[in-house]
Amino acid sequence: MTLLGRFPALAGVDLDISPGEIVLLKGPNGAGKTTLLRLCAGLCSLASGQGWVLGHSLNEERRMVRRRVALLGHRTGLYDDLTVAENVGFWARAAGASRQDVDEALERLSLTGRLPDTRVGRLSAGQRRRASIASLVVRRPELWLLDEPHAGLDQQSRDTVDALVRGAAAAGATVVLASHELERIQVLEPRVVSVVGGMVRTGDEPAGPQSPNTPSDAEDDRRVS
C-alpha cells in the first residue's frame, strides 16, 4: 500500500509474477496503475505490507531493485536542451552501455536522419516518446515496467514496441505494462490483471463472476519474478 500525499493510491495488492511473463495492468483512470509500476521500480515506499521484486525486498533493498529495472513513465526523463543522441548517450553511459548500444537503440526506434541531432525540446510528441524508449533499451533490464508504452506512437513504432516486449520476454525478462489500448495489447497475449480503486484482481478468472477475495491490508504483499 502506497501513500501519495495522504491519498492511499493502492489499497490492497496481492500479485505474483514469474520471470518471462508479460503482464497487463488494466483499469480506469486513477486506479493506481502508474503508482503500482513506480512501486515495483522502487520509487515509492510501502506504507504497510511487504513486497519483493527480483528477489529484493521493496521495504529494505530498494536501491538494488532500482538498478535492475527500466521504467517508462508518463514523463520521458529526457533533457530538452540536449539532442536525442546526447540524451540517449547520457543514459547509456550512466548504465554502462557502449556507444554501439546507443546506435542500435536509435536505429531500432527509427530515430535516424536528422533526428539524432535534434534537440529533444523540438521533437514531436511521438518522437520524444520514442527517444525515451530508446534511452531505456540501452539498459537491458531484467524487469520492464511500461506505462502506456504505445501512447502517441505511430503504427510502425507500435510494432517496434511489441517486438521489443516479445523479445524481452523471450530473453527471460519480465514485462509489466499498463495500458488502456486493450485491443492493441491483445496481440502480446499478456496475463491480464485488473486494477480498480487501488485494488488488484489477478486475471485468472477473466471477466467472469468475481470472487470475493478483496485482500485485507494486513495480508497484502507482492512478489515479482
Partner: protein
C-alpha cells in the same frame, strides 16, 4: 565513480551552455547588478570601494541561488530525476558532479564580476594569491552546501524562495570569510586574509564530506 561524477557534471554544464546564458548574459548581468548597487549606495565612490568585497559576494551568492535552482530544475522538468535514481549511479558521484558543475559556473561568474568590480568600483588588487584562493574556496563552499540544500528542496513543489531561506543563513560564514579575505586582498581593511581563507576551505571541506555522505539518504526518495 569519478567517471560518473564527470558524466553528471558534463551533462549539467552542457545544458547550461546550450541555453546560451554564457557571456551573452552573465557579463551584462554582472555589470547591471554592480550598477544597481552603485545607485543603491548613493553613488558614493568611497563607500563603493570600501564595500566592494561585500557587494561582490552578495552578488555571487544571489547568482548561485539561480544556478543551484536550475541545476535541479532541469532534472525535475521531465522526470530525469527519477531516472537518475534508477540509473544506479552512486549518489556520491551525483553529488560531486552537480557540485562541480555549479562551482565551475560560479568561478566563471567570479572572474567576470571581479573584472567589473576592479574596473567600475576602482579597487586595486594587492594580493593576487589570496584573491584567487579565496575565490576558489568560496565557490567550492557555496557549491557543496548549495547542492546539498538544492537536493533538500528539489521536488517539494515549493517555489524558488525556499532555497534562499534555507541556504543563505548556512552560507553566511562564506559570505563573511570571503568578504574579509577580499578586503585584505584589495587592501581596504586590514583583515587577516589567510586566516579567513582557512575558514572558507574548512567550510568547503566539511560540506563536501557531509554532503557526499548524506546525499544518498536524501535521494532515496519516498
Amino acid at each position: 565513480m569519478f567517471r560518473d561524477a564527470w558524466l553528471i557534471a558534463g551533462k549539467d554544464l552542457r545544458i547550461e551552455m546550450r541555453s546560451r546564458v554564457g557571456l551573452n548574459q552573465i557579463v551584462p548581468f554582472a555589470v547591471t547588478v554592480l550598477v544597481l548597487f552603485a545607485f543603491a549606495l548613493d553613488t558614493d565612490q568611497e563607500a563603493l570601494r570600501t564595500y566592494a568585497p561585500g557587494l561582490f559576494w552578495v552578488t555571487v551568492l544571489l547568482v548561485s541561488l539561480l544556478a543551484i535552482g536550475r541545476s535541479f530544475a532541469v532534472d525535475l522538468a521531465d522526470g530525469a530525476a527519477d531516472r537518475l535514481l534508477l540509473s544506479g549511479i552512486d549518489p556520491i558521484a551525483v553529488f560531486g558532479g552537480k557540485a562541480a558543475a555549479i562551482a565551475i559556473q560560479l568561478v566563471v561568474l567570479e572572474v567576470l564580476l571581479g573584472a567589473g568590480v576592479v574596473l567600475l568600483f576602482d579597487v586595486t588588487v594587492h594580493r593576487y594569491g589570496l584573491l584567487v584562493c579565496a575565490g576558489l574556496a568560496a565557490a567550492a563552499g557555496v557549491a557543496t552546501a548549495g547542492t546539498l540544500y538544492g537536493a533538500l528542496v528539489a521536488g517539494l513543489g515549493v517555489r524558488e524562495t525556499l532555497l534562499p531561506v534555507l541556504l543563505l543563513p548556512v552560507v553566511a560564514p562564506v559570505l563573511i570569510g570571503a568578504t574579509r579575505a577580499f578586503q585584505d586582498a584589495f587592501g581596504v581593511a586590514g583583515a587577516e586574509g589567510w586566516a579567513w581563507l582557512g575558514l572558507l576551505a574548512g567550510f568547503a571541506a566539511i560540506y563536501g564530506v557531509f554532503g557526499a555522505l548524506s546525499y544518498g539518504a536524501l535521494l532515496e526518495e519516498a
